[in-house]
Each structure stands twice: as structure tokens, then as C-alpha cells.
């Protein structure tokens, strides 16, 4: 075997080991969700001796569907608003010449450093004054834009070929028409990347709903799963908790699979230019 083959073999061995390491908790969660509470307590084997979907049946009764729906609605709204606002803000910072642009950008960069815990109480007070406590709107409005993704989009548009926009200008395209007909379609990879991360972030968000939402029917999935965990943890019903967790990651997984191709092609915008 040549040196290159050995190097490839070693590389694949390392990557396989890393994949197994990453997948191990996920596989453990699936296997646990298929066990009975007694089997989990005995801890005799990693593999379920008598696999059962009872945990899934139990978890899908009660308010779980409601929480799933709540999370889906909130995550979808937050993702759409973020994609719209972050993209427009990033585009404006990259393309428009206006007084104080540099200062505004630097101020935004400074604000990234402020931990979200610091802004949580002021945000709660604002939400309370608006009368939005215990509504999904409270989570949606306080998560509608993200400086990190404004920065990401700004960097994307800084490297976006200006000549294509100039060609559109010569073709009679105004700023808004240009943005929606030329720029956005070409920014699909960046939009998909942003959408996946925002959706994942808000889907897994726990602190914000915990602070803003108190009615069980309004719970988001993370709150619901936490409630389930509290309810069953002492009786070793880890199968229920794991079943809930597995179901909760399915939407993110399917979204990632759907947008994977665009996600991987974030830098491929060059086919219109040389």
C-alpha cells in the first residue's frame, strides 16, 4: 500500500471514531427510549431486551402536541423575522453609504459582547409593560433580530459581486426590486445557513420561554420536556424523557436535511461572474 493509502486509511479511522463519539449520546437516547423503566433501572445491557414504543405513546398523549405546535409556530415566526431583518440590516451596512455607518457597525459589534442574561430582566420589563407576558409574541418579538447574523450577512454582502447589482441598475431595477429579485435569490445559501441556525437556536431556547411563559398550554417544547423530566425523573422514567427529546429534534433534523445542499454551498455565488 502506498503512503497516500495509509494516510487516507488513518484519516477515515479518525473521522469514523469522531462520528461514533458524536453519535453515541444520540444512539444512547434512542436505545433508552425503547426500554422499559425497569430495564433502565437494572442497567443490565445497552441494548433493549424487549424494545417497546410505549414511551412514545405515553409522551404523545397529553399536551405534548400542543407544545410541539407552539414551538413550531414560534420558531417559524422567529426564523422568518430574523432572515428578513438580519438580511436587510446586513445589506444596508454592507452597501448603503450613510453618515455614521462605521460607528453603527462598531456599536453593534460591541453589543454582541453583552451576555443575554444581562438583557433578560430589562426585556421582561418591556414585555410586561406591553402586556405580552405569557404570550408567544413575547418570545417572538424579543428574538426577532440577531446581531451575530446581521454581522454574518454584512460579511456576505461585502463580498457580493457589486457588478451584478450595477447591471440590474442599468437594466432599470430600483433598490427594492434589486434586493428582492437579484440579491436575495443569490443569497439563498447564506439565508439557508442563517435560517437553520436561528431555527435551531430558538427551538432549543429554554431560558426565555421559562421567563416569559407560565401557562402549561402555552409552553414551548423545551419547557414541556423540562416539566416531563421533573415529573418522571425520580421514578427513573428516562425512557419518556428520551422519547420526548428524540421527537423534539426531528423538526430540526428534517430542516437540516432539506437545506443541507444550500448550507454546504454558502460561497457558491460566482456562476454569474468570472
Amino acid at each position: 500500500m502506498s503512503r497516500k493509502s495509509y494516510a487516507n486509511g488513518a484519516l477515515y479511522l479518525m473521522l469514523s471514531a469522531y462520528s461514533l463519539l458524536t453519535l453515541a449520546p444520540f444512539i444512547w437516547a434512542i436505545l433508552t427510549s425503547l426500554k422499559s423503566p425497569r430495564e433502565i433501572a437494572e442497567a443490565a445491557s445497552v441494548w433493549p431486551q424487549a424494545p417497546t414504543l410505549a414511551a412514545y405513546e405515553t409522551i404523545l398523549h397529553g399536551p405534548f402536541y400542543q407544545w410541539l405546535w407552539n414551538s413550531f409556530m414560534v420558531a417559524t415566526a422567529v426564523t422568518l423575522l430574523n432572515v428578513l431583518f438580519n438580511t436587510m440590516a446586513g445589506y444596508a451596512l454592507a452597501r448603503f453609504q450613510f453618515r455614521g455607518r462605521g460607528l453603527l457597525f462598531q456599536a453593534l459589534m460591541l453589543l454582541i459582547m453583552v451576555p443575554s442574561q444581562v438583557t433578560m430582566i430589562p426585556a421582561y420589563m418591556i414585555v410586561a409593560r406591553l402586556g405580552l407576558v405569557d404570550t408567544h409574541l413575547s418570545v417572538i418579538l424579543t428574538s426577532a433580530a440577531s446581531i451575530a447574523y446581521i454581522f454574518m450577512m454584512r460579511q456576505f454582502f461585502v463580498n457580493f459581486p457589486a457588478e451584478i447589482e450595477e447591471a440590474a441598475t442599468l437594466d432599470g431595477s430600483g433598490p427594492l426590486h434589486r434586493f428582492f429579485r437579484i440579491v436575495l435569490p443569490m443569497a439563498k445559501p447564506a439565508l439557508a445557513t442563517q435560517a437553520i441556525f436561528v431555527f435551531m437556536g430558538i427551538w432549543n431556547e429554554f431560558m426565555k420561554p421559562l421567563l416569559f411563559i407560565s401557562t402549561v398550554d402555552n409552553y414551548l417544547l423545551t419547557q414541556g420536556l423540562n416539566a416531563v423530566a421533573k415529573q418522571y425523573a425520580k421514578s427513573s422514567s428516562w425512557n419518556l424523557i428520551m422519547a420526548g427529546s428524540i421527537i423534539s429534534i426531528l423538526p430540526i433534523l428534517s430542516m437540516y436535511i432539506a437545506l443541507n445542499r444550500r448550507f454546504l454551498n454558502i460561497n457558491d455565488q460566482s456562476s454569474g461572474i468570472k
Binding site: 457588478e163 443569490m186 454569474g272 468570472k274
Partner: protein, 372 residues
């Protein structure tokens, strides 16, 4: 009627002058090429005509209408970008139809124009493809097609061939020349740094120099036909820029005025030059110039030692070290028998010599008859 007029045009970025005092007239159907070194502002001047840059001073008009403040889309121009700038998410057809759709033309008219342009540019089989599935040459043709369909009064080309390989460049150059003949009522303004493109395509060449070299004067070093710029450069800048290899220069001074021009003092010897030196002061410092192809090897009263030979097959360029304090001369020759280190005689024909004053301005050549 003159199609494009530029009067005292100036362009500055953040107070830094880029273009200064540009005066130019381009006739209908005329093929005008902007040429000059990097950073001379030739692309900026084109973008200024397109409306992608704002005029800092002066008047810009197309077809008798001042367009300084007219939006780019209403200037009746079309531009072909260096990078093609096609819309990658649209098909070739949609790329060409986009501007017409914005003009709100009828669907049938749009289709007619696109199909006509596709026929001229042989793009018919590619209309349903997206730019990503096209070769560089095909993308360039789509970019040209996108300009043609708009039926503009002025075509603007910004180094459209610079991304193509040598053979495709020659082929596309011919296509552009053919297109110019077919669309003979439209003016074409073409930016390039390639002298071959400029010399072969242009009716008129505008040679630009960087603002730093212009020293407050106009950036335009010379305007003329390709052969005028080659045979009668107006100044040292034009003489240095036009021609490959560049013109040879020799340091000299005025010895005397003669009936056939002047006698220059070159390395202590008299050298006749057929230029009009009537306005020169006595002993005025001069720079003489001669193109490599006009040097005559193997005869004449001058001698030089061969320090380098560039054999190109068809001909050779011989570098001659001939006098202390004088730049090395380059001579074009068909003689393949010359050897490195050999001393050869050469002549500087009076009719082939150019002469420039100390301020760089060329003296009028007396025996040169422009063929225009």
C-alpha cells in the same frame, strides 16, 4: 449629430482627483477605445458615462441631452461588464429579457428582440440554460446579447475580453467588430489595456494617463486614430505607451536648425532628425525616440554591443548597449545570425526619429504623412 459629448468632465473620490478636464466627442456609429495604464481612470470614465459614478464637474450629454443627473436606466446605454455580471439564478433568456421586462415592453416584443439577439450571437441552443452551465465565451456572448436587446444609442464595454483565453479573445474581438458593423448607428465605447484590441477595433483612441502623471492637466494624453497615435505621438507618455516593445529613447540636445528639420547633438555627434524645431531655444534639451522596428541594423555610423536577443521565430529583438549614460536600445530584425556580445552597426533614419521637448511635448514630424 454628435452622440456623446464630454465637456470639462472631472471625477474625484473623497477630494482626490481621478479624472480632470476630460473633453471628448464621439460620433454616431463611432468605435471609441479608452486605453491607458492601470489606475488612469479609464473604467471610471466609462462608469461615469453609464451613470454608475457621479460627475464631480463638467457636462455629459448623449444625443444633445445633458444626462449628468439622469438615472443609468434612462440614459439609453447598455454596458458589458468585465466579469459579465450575469444573473446566475436566471436562464440565458431571462438574463437577456430582464431589462426589457423592466421597460414594460410587450411580451411578444421582448421575445422577438431576445430571439433576434440569440440568432446574431448563436445563443439559440443555450437560451434555457443558466450562466453556471456556460463556458466563459458563451457567458460573454450572453452579456453582449443582454446589451444588444436594449437597442441602446451607446454601448459601453469594460474590458470585456480580459477573462478569455488568447484564442477566444481573438475570436470574440472579431465578433465585436462584426457587431459594430451590423449595428452601425450605435456608438461604442470600449475600455481596454490591450493595445492589440485598441489598434484593431478603434476608429478613435483616447489615451488616458493617471491623475498623478497629469499634474493638474487633463488626463487625456492624446486622442486620435490608432495610426496617428502610433506614428505621431503627441507627447512622451503616448510614445512610451503605444507600441510593443516600447519606443527607444535617447538623450540629446539641439545643435542646429536645418532645411530638413533639425540637427541634434547625440553623444557628441550630429544626428539629423526630420522634425519642426522652429520654436526650440538654442541648445534645448531633447529626447529622441525611435521604434524598434524602425532601427536599421548592419549599416550606419552608430555601433552597439548585443547584450540580449529575444528570438521569436518570425523576427528577433536585439538589445544593444551602445553608449554610457544612454538607455539600452531595442532593434527588431529578421537576421538570425546575430550573436550575443557581437558589435553591430546601426542607423537612426532621420525620418523615423521622433523628438520631444524637455516638457515632454512632441515636435511635429516633417516627413510623416498620416494615412488617415
Amino acid at each position: 449629430m454628435t452622440q456623446v459629448i464630454l465637456r470639462n468632465i472631472a471625477l474625484a473620490y473623497h477630494g482626490q482627483p481621478v479624472l480632470n478636464d476630460i473633453n471628448l466627442e464621439i460620433a454616431p456609429g463611432e468605435f471609441c477605445v479608452f486605453i491607458g495604464p492601470s489606475g488612469c481612470g479609464k473604467s471610471s470614465l466609462l462608469r461615469l458615462i453609464a451613470g454608475l459614478e457621479e460627475v464631480s464637474d463638467g457636462i455629459l450629454s448623449i444625443d444633445g441631452r445633458t444626462i449628468n443627473d439622469v438615472p443609468p436606466a434612462e440614459r439609453n446605454i447598455a454596458m458589458v461588464f468585465q466579469s459579465y455580471a450575469l444573473y446566475p439564478h436566471m436562464t440565458v433568456y431571462d438574463n437577456m429579457a430582464f431589462g426589457l421586462t423592466r421597460q414594460k415592453l410587450a411580451r411578444a416584443e421582448i421575445e422577438r428582440r431576445v430571439m433576434e439577439a440569440a440568432r446574431i450571437l448563436q445563443l439559440e441552443p443555450l437560451l434555457a440554460r443558466k450562466p453556471g452551465a456556460l463556458s466563459g465565451g458563451q457567458r460573454q456572448r450572453v452579456a453582449i446579447g443582454r446589451a444588444i436587446v436594449k437597442k441602446p444609442k451607446v454601448f459601453l464595454f469594460d474590458e470585456p475580453l480580459s477573462n478569455l483565453d488568447a484564442s477566444l479573445r481573438a475570436q470574440t474581438r472579431l465578433e465585436i467588430a462584426r457587431l459594430h458593423r451590423e449595428l452601425n448607428s450605435a456608438s461604442m465605447i470600449y475600455v481596454t489595456h490591450d493595445q492589440v484590441e485598441a489598434m484593431t477595433l478603434a476608429d478613435k483612441i483616447v489615451l488616458l494617463r493617471p491623475a498623478a502623471d497629469a499634474q493638474g492637466r487633463s488626463n487625456v494624453a492624446q486622442i486620435g486614430t490608432p495610426l496617428e497615435l502610433y506614428h505621431q505621438p503627441a507627447n512622451l507618455f503616448a510614445a512610451k505607451f503605444i507600441g510593443t516593445p516600447a519606443m527607444n529613447f535617447l538623450n540629446a540636445s539641439l545643435a542646429a536648425l536645418t532645411p530638413d528639420g533639425i540637427s541634434a547633438l547625440l553623444q557628441g555627434r550630429a544626428c539629423p532628425v526630420a522634425v519642426d524645431g522652429a520654436e526650440l531655444a538654442a541648445d534645448a534639451a531633447l529626447t529622441l525616440g525611435i521604434r524598434p522596428e524602425h532601427m536599421v541594423l548592419g549599416q550606419g555610423g552608430w555601433q552597439g554591443k548585443i547584450v540580449h536577443i529575444e528570438a521569436l521565430g518570425e523576427h528577433s529583438y536585439v538589445h544593444l548597449d551602445w553608449a554610457d549614460g544612454q538607455p539600452t536600445l531595442i532593434a527588431k530584425t529578421q537576421d538570425e545570425g546575430l550573436r550575443l556580445g557581437e558589435t553591430v552597426a546601426f542607423a537612426l533614419p532621420a525620418a523615423a526619429l521622433h523628438a520631444f521637448r524637455s516638457d515632454g511635448v512632441a515636435l511635429r514630424r516633417l516627413q510623416f504623412k498620416p494615412s488617415t
